[in-house]
Point group: C2
Chain length 291, copies 2
């Protein structure tokens, strides 16, 4: 089964457990809205690629890990869109969860998806309990405080931002979770995989800054110029678009160079290159000509 | 060490991991505000009493479980107080988290505390990985969808409420988590302990309805008559205060009768009676005379 299908199946299986009767139907609908059909599923795709590079000897563990990671990512998008943060009307080209389903249901959707992520890990076979517990720890560390995506959002409430900690927590954390959880799922030590995740995360941050600064809303399916609006740091504002694009290419080259030696090393390098091609040409002609 | 001290130590140890540098200081302060000095810590106290009744052969596992459960409870209070839910200015006699620290930080505080709960379980020694994973599954099931406290809040957005599912999810779920997690921490099957948690939870729901209907804000340290205000079901409105108080006493008797046979059975029954005495006289003379 191709990775994309494994990820989709695992996510739908997790969602199905959350909607077993009796369940409040509107919250069930809001969970579906937040997770399906979904975006590019980049984080679980990276997770699965790393697991496969490491042998993927427990596919059910890898599937659970991939679903859990994407569920936390979706939760973060729902909460980031809330009126008290970005107040975004659109996400992935459709109404944000609080616009479509109400603000209380959006808060509960985020909470429920975080909990569903850990429930999914908690259902891993007890024969693989040690790996499962490592996944719990890895996912919570990269999601919460002090170094996860919650911390990343939290930095935006500070008068003085630690920029390195901010970017690492806000964007890179879930990519580090992706590479580390991929390794853990296949029974490997995660530490050798942290740099790859951090560099892919940094690349996505720069790409996202470029998109936010240069694209139009109809290209992106969500509001643009949000960094400027919310006074958030943006590498394009800092360095200019040309230097930012050069930096993006350097980071991606570094990411490929950082891949640890393993049976699936060549295939993984190819996957990172494919992801990179998706990032860069994602800037349409109008934006690229502005670079 | 007395249970209350073990619980406090475990909670503070968890909070310390969340504030390791570099961390956004305002979010750290908001986490502390949400968790310390705390209320009666009823749920972890019950958890620990059940673990002790079952032998408490892995005290470090019990401590982590107790802290994790209380962190999820505190997270739920922070999110329940948000403007889009109860819009509460007060909690435990001090400003609610969004009043004291802003609404974005309150959303992040709830999210971070949920994640910290699972991080705390994820740090359990790998020699106890199977118990730890059972704790992850038990806590997520009683917190999320379809049967946990998120589901309980979710029912309030439904046109037709399934009252039994609503009360079980909204209030009883974390008490079922308390008794089941206590048993799991000590290596026992949790199923025999579900009824005790459900009944204690039901007692607290009735007591809470009595307090909400009959007390004044200064007695309670948080807004009253919230059920009436938000159109939520309340057993006092349904049955009258006298019948509600009689029902509370019946439920508590049932709870004590439901305690499974175990070495610490007598001590546990005494603890439930002590909790019960705390619930009922918690209604001061003014309210009891209204009954």
């Amino acid at each position: 089964m191709p990775a994309s299908q494994r990820i989709d199946t695992a996510i739908r299986a997790a969602l199905a457990t959350a909607s077993a009767e009796p369940a409040p139907g509107r919250l069930v609908a809001a969970l579906d809205h937040a997770v399906l059909p979904g975006g590019a599923r980049i984080r679980p795709t990276i997770l699965m690629a790393v697991a496969q590079a490491c042998g993927d000897d427990r596919p059910a563990v890898t599937d659970a890990a991939a679903a859990a990671l994407e569920l936390v990512h979706c939760a973060s998008l729902v909460h980031d869109d809330l009126p008290c943060f970005d107040d975004a009307d659109l996400r992935r080209g459709k109404p944000s969860v609080h616009r479509a389903h109400s603000e209380p249901l959006a808060v509960l959707t985020g909470d429920s998806l975080i909990l569903l992520a850990f429930d999914t890990l908690g259902r891993i076979d007890r024969g693989d309990a040690a790996r499962a517990l490592d996944l719990v720890r890895c996912l919570s560390a990269h999601s919460g405080m002090p170094g996860g995506i919650c911390a990343g959002q939290g930095w935006e409430s500070e008068a003085q931002i630690d920029l390195r900690a901010y970017h690492r927590a806000k964007t890179a954390a879930l990519f580090m979770a992706a590479t580390e959880m991929g390794a853990i799922s296949a029974g490997q030590e995660p530490d050798a995989w942290t740099d790859l995740g951090a560099l892919i995360g940094e690349a996505f941050q720069v790409a996202d800054d470029l998109r936010d600064a240069l694209l139009q809303e109809e290209d992106l399916g969500k509001p643009v110029q949000q960094d400027d609006l919310h006074g958030r740091p943006n590498v394009v504002a800092e360095l200019g678009a040309e230097a930012a694009l050069a930096r993006l290419k350097d980071i991606l080259a570094g990411a490929i160079a950082s891949i640890p030696s393993c049976p699936g090393e060549a295939a993984l390098a190819q996957m990172v290159r494919a992801q990179a091609r998706q990032i860069v040409p994602d800037l349409p002609a109008r934006a690229r000509s502005a670079v």
